[in-house]
Amino acid sequence: MITNILFGVGVAFFGFVLQTSIAGVNRKVVGRVQKRYGPKWYQEFLDIFKLLSKRSVTHGWIFDFGVIMALGGIIGTAMFMPITSDLVAFADFDNFFIFVYLIAVGMLGMAMSASGSGNPLASIGVMRALTTMLAYEVPFMIVVLTIIKLTGTSSVTGIAEFQQLASNNWFMIALPLGGIVGVMSLMGMIGKKPFETYIAPAEIASGPMVEYGGKQLGMLFIMHEITVFIEVSLFVHLFLGGAENVVLFIVKYFLVYTTLNIISSVYGRFKIDQVVLFFYKWPILMAISQAFVAIYLGWVI
């Protein structure tokens, strides 16, 4: 049990290092898209460690408690995440719903802390984040419903292994409409344009993050990196057949994240009601028709 927990902590740490490095590389990629040089690939690490070392201010116990709950919830969630089918801390217990709902503890902690700062811009950011969540989560869950119904298991490694069988395609190909919905929802999840309304730096001063500095901000940065790790690797496991070994996992992960970043770098920002209307128009229609076609008619490529 202790080894499993230590392994889980290792997964969370691996996720943090991986995502922070890839995010650094992606700052260069986006820089090149926008005809800039971009910062060094390890710039994100420097930012985080600088923040952690600084002395900051606090707005009361809930402000700190929320940050601890946020980072703790996200580390806890990441501990369940499989890397390959064999490299998983708690085999058989990596249920899909744990990732969707345990991640919410972290989100709740951050929202709580942000509202506890007493800055209205933070509350507006939280409102937008939750509204965006209401938008992207439902189509995504419907696609995952289809996947779980087809594979008969809600274990993330189980779903990945199902796709690795010779007779089955990746779900990105097997369920093409669902795959597109998955990509769009993932962009909402990790807050890429056009769905980054809740951060909106020029408009609401980074939203939930507005009051933070020093170690609290550093911890929220770590939390954000691990959150992105959870969401992108969930996509890799659910839609891209998981990974047989770590190298393949890193390659798939890098490709997914970089593609999203490049798509994101050419878009503007939606208004919050446009986000909701968007997701409740095409993605949900596509998700529902995909589910009907796959479950009731059995048409899976």
């Binding site: 969370a12 501990m79 709740l108 800055n119 509350s123 170690k215 911890m219 909701v276």
Partner: protein, 608 residues
Amino acid sequence: MASIELIIVFTALAGVLSYFVGRLNKVAGSVVTILASMFVFVSVAYFGYNNELIHSTEFLPYVTFSVTYLGLFFAILVTFIFAMVSFFNPFFVEKYKYPALYSMLYLLSLAGVLGVFFTNNFMSLFFFFEFVVWTSLFLIPMGRSKRAASSYYAFSTVGSFALLFAIFIMREASGTFNIVSSMASVNGTEAAIVSALLAVAAFAKLGAFPLNVWLPRVLGNSPDAISAVFSGGLEKLGAFVAVLALVKLAPFGYVVDATGLAASQYVIAALGALTIVFGTLMAIRQDDAKKLLAYSSMSNGGYILVALTIASSASVSGGLYHVVAHALASTAAFLAIGAVSRITGTTKMSELGGMIHKMPVTYLVYLIAIISMAGIPPMGGFISKWLIFQAVIDKGMILVAVAVFFGSIGSFLYVFRPLAALFLGQELPQHREVSKEAPFFMLVPMVILSGLIIYTGVLPNFFLGFINNVLTEVGVTPLVIGSYTVTGTNGVLQPALIASVFGVGVLIAFIIFIVLKKSRKVGLMDTYTAGNFIYTEELMHYSLDFYAPLERLYEKYINITKDFYKRLENKVVDLGRLMKYYFFTNKPEIMVLWIIIIMGIILWGDIL
């Protein structure tokens, strides 16, 4: 050993006693409610759990009892809620116009509830059902609105009549009022009609769409303690009837091959899904914290209906577990809001802010309650929602799943509002001086409830084991549970593992936090304002129309159900006027004419 009859008679007598004590001293009368309801809970739970309840009757005429696991499950839960809420009575009776009557009705409705769950006779069931309606009816207007009581009465009547018709049909088919044998004897079309009628009764009691209008009115306007009792206890009578209607009676209608579900199940699940969506959308736009929780109760009632109608082992145990989880969570949340309302005198979120600084324990109670309500681990609500999701996915109910997921994510939105607007944010000056933490005896039930919410989320197997007895009794395959694991249709869950991993995560985060440099404490007004100078707390507190951009998308359509019932009400009033005009005029000769005509019609063929 304890006799059910004696417990019920004791509760009723204690109610009468509390009335007379309450006439002498308001608070003493309400203390009687605490003692009596605690006694009832302890005796029902202890003797019921050890199978030592005696069901013979000696004093009450025509009433017979029997102990079923189903009845026991609901009885223990609801008496527990009554016992917990009763701690609030002494602190609130001062405000009511008839404090002695309040204490008496509180205990009488408890007696009625026990009768409903333990009787084995449909006529007594109906009697106790009405008894609960009539006693709770007069508790509602002691709060803010009299109209809420009439609305409750109107919808309860629909449910009661549906129940009565169902009872008569079963009596016609079986010749007995016994619950088990009369339900077993109906089949074919009769069973379908009975099932539909009982479902109407369940909908009316649960406040499910389309019989939902009373619930937010009652829960939003009742006295604070009564809202908690309604949401956690009395509303669950609907779930009890729903188990009878949806699980014990077979579904009917055309069976879809792909899923093996009958048409009636699709209809009920669709109505349950609409209940979830409408409840969620309405909860998001409330300004009154109690109303918000009321709509959330409605939406959770929808989950219970969806779960019970699918009638697989995962879904029924999920539904029953949701009854427990929601009862605990919503009672705790209502009590926390009640504690705030006692001190500030309002439950409107736009008038409150920053209560956390003076009421930290109440805040934590509310936080734990909403984590469970939103279905987030490691709280009880996650287990039940997980089981319900399993069942919905397993049956491939796509459109119902949209509603179920929407309600689940939507609940993050609405439960967060009171947290942000009422407890967090700027501390408003008008409450800064007066507010303080709730008294010790108000914190006791809230903390017990929070402990149970965590317990149900971390170690659900004790409750699920009890629910498995219920499942066996109503004819559903029991759920597979290990010593720490729960096995659903397509996955295994180990709640204790989730909780401990979460604990490890928090520990790591705490260590990171504590080893780094200590932060300097600054005031809440010392925030980034983009260069503006703002000195009033209200301007820095974002609480009004929290989800305005989202609300704008559907605010045109929110009054459709309400308008429908308003028009129906007007039609009923018109009909009443018409009857009055033709029949009850002030000219006696017309009355006599009508009486003769009606007598003639009735007696035609027999005597004439």
